[in-house]
Amino acid sequence: MHKLKTTTAVAGGLALAMMAGGALAQDQVTLNIWSDTPRLSMFELYDQTHDNVTLNVTTVAPADLIAKLQLAMQAKSEIPDVVFLSDIGYTAQLSTRRSNYLMDLTDKVPQALQDEFYPNGNSPCEVNGKLYCLRNDLAHMMVWYDKPLMEKLGKAVPTTYAEFEALGAELGPEGYVLGSAVEAFPLYSFLVSDGCDMAMPVEGKPDTLKIDLTTDKCTKPAAMVDAMVANGSLAKVGPFEPDFVNLAKTGKVPLIIGPTWFGEYVIKPTYEWPEGTLAAAMPLKWDDQDQPLTWSWGGGTYGGWKDTAHPDEVVDVIEWMATDVANQTDAVTLPAHEPSAIAWGAKLKADSYYADADVFDVEVGSAKYSHPGYVSLRFSVSDAIAKVITQGMGGGGTVLGALPALQTELTNLAKLNGYTVE
């Protein structure tokens, strides 16, 4: 909990003396905020820079957020005015008849401000054409690689999936690994990279999803993953499991496809790649694509309570948190708001940790390839992938072989959650 204590006596006296009641007419508004730990300092900054609003910030573990919110709504007390949503699925899950929490921001956030976000940056906030939140950070997948190691191996950084698969075929048998095949999100991102209709929203039809995993656009990436698992270039352990971390630390991972936050939050602190090794490249594309189509892994959002007593202040907090340049400059992850991102990037450009100075340029340059289907759904596709595909892989099953079962699971889940399936 954090509360800003203003020196009311002094400030009040001054205000009384200087202004003709103008400032006094503005009532002090207190908003209840549920935040995660990394966002705490940002909310505190808002509190300090806004005299008319006091923020009562409570830290809630991201995994507990929905459960606590459901309880608060059921009890009809202690409902927060603004929340930080760590999972993009929460937007859809919190704007249903059953849990109707989120405020519709479509007409409250000016269009000009909405346009300052990167393309598809706010797609996880849009449900049936309405805007329910503002995105804090981008998290699209790109290519991270160990520059000296790739040079030593004499390999070029791939730009297409065909090159990526060929690189795996060469390096896999030599004991090198280019990522994980079992972690749900990386697997998810491979599977949808060629436009596979894996629970994708249908333009213009509310609550409608297209689920068809039988097309070439799905089977091709699935077969690639299977081939790379077979030759060892995609590991059957997750990227955070000790086995994988060991490989990454001992120079056995020359290249990995990961989200924008992978460099700063996984490779640097966990994989401990030395200074001057890490470089980044644009997301891969398939031969039949003109440009890459890249999935994302995460990216938090800010949402407000639709029945709050102070809607204007709530919208202001959300806008400020997501788009105030001074605030977002020091944000932990790449801002989804373009002007903020540019200010934020200066730090990255000056960081001597990276082998190239263009890491930030790659991050924002690849933002325009973000998959428009990275939206908020009322069920979790990644959980379904973990349940259907990954578990089968432990017993020797293939991704390709599991696609029919995944199609059934996703269709069932979609119907259960009130979607029309095409």
């Binding site: 249903t96 059953r98 059957k236 499991e241 349940k387 432990g394 259960l416 959650n417």
Partner: protein, 299 residues
């Protein structure tokens, strides 16, 4: 017997009964507050649309039956219960009888050792097991690798999720039962044991023919309680996701489904319907076992 004597006896009996109710009272109060009232509340809630608070009869039950995940989780839970209860009954029974036949001091020490894993909360045990099951960090690495399991995914699919959860649950609950059985066995009349020994019964015969028939009720009780606990399986599958999202099991057990309904979907009515059915089956099965085995009949 004089009239006054009878009166005195009656008065004593009355005081005794009153005393026993008085002693039971705290338990009954807690049972009412945290058992019966919530069950009644959930039962009532299960017939309502909890969003607009309108009565809609069996709609919530219909919703649960129509959920394709429910039959799968019924199978999951029953498989788990079958493995876990038989494991508990056989292993705890065997271990307790064995402990009773070794020296008292050694038995006490071993019982404490067996109890130790149970002293850790079950959520912590799950986390511990996630490491034990990972061949790259497990202390049982050679064994796991001998079977040909090189990653955690291999181990989990090799043992099967039901088996993994049964192992976790066994180690968190068995120690307590071993202690209970230690007490039950220690209270068996020594003259019966001595008579059996004089008649030439071996340790094995003593355990199987004399001690086991004398403690079977406790074993049935353990079976019933384990069964009821097993149906409510929640912590073990729920925490699997801690090993990585690829292991997440959010709808594996029935209790998890009830949790999903309430705290993911926000549908407390559907959650109440599933929970009501869950507690109903636990009670029904316990009643069948109790009456089919003449559990409370005195010898």
């Amino acid at each position: 017997m004089t009239a006054s004597r009878v009166k005195q006896e009656r008065r004593k009996a009355f005081l005794d009964t009153r005393m026993s109710y008085l002693l039971l009272l705290p338990y009954l109060l807690l049972l009412l507050m945290f058992g019966l009232v919530p069950i009644g509340y959930a039962f009532g809630l299960s017939f309502f649309d909890t969003i607009d608070m309108v009565f809609w009869g069996p709609t919530n039950y219909q919703f649960v039956f129509d959920d394709f995940r429910v039959p799968a989780s019924v199978v999951n839970v029953l498989t788990f219960v079958a493995i876990w209860v038989s494991m508990t009954v056989i292993c705890v029974g065997a271990l307790s009888l064995m402990l009773d036949s070794v020296g008292r001091r050694a038995a006490t020490m071993l019982r404490t050792v067996y109890f130790l894993p149970g002293a850790v909360t079950s959520s912590a045990i799950v986390v511990l097991w996630l490491f034990v099951l990972d061949p790259s960090v497990s202390p049982f690495q050679p064994i796991l690798q001998m079977v040909g399991w090189v990653s955690r995914a291999d181990v989990i699919s090799g043992i099967g999720l039901a088996g993994v959860f049964a192992l976790m649950a066994y180690f968190s609950a068995s120690g307590g039962w071993i202690v209970v059985f230690g007490g039950a066995l220690a209270s068996l009349p020594t003259e019966v044991m001595e008579a059996a020994r004089i008649d030439g019964a071996s340790r094995l015969q003593l355990a199987l023919r004399i001690k086991l028939p004398m403690i079977w009720r406790s074993i049935v009780l353990m079976g019933i309680l384990s069964f009821a606990t097993g149906l409510q399986l929640f912590v073990e599958p729920q925490l699997m996701g801690m090993a990585g999202t690829q292991f997440a099991q959010n709808d594996w057990s029935l209790n998890q489904m009830a949790f999903q309904y309430a705290f993911r979907m926000g549908d407390f009515g559907a959650s109440a319907a599933l929970s009501t059915m869950l507690v109903g089956s636990s009670i029904a099965i316990a009643l069948v076992i109790v009456f089919a085995t003449n559990f409370y009949k005195l010898d």
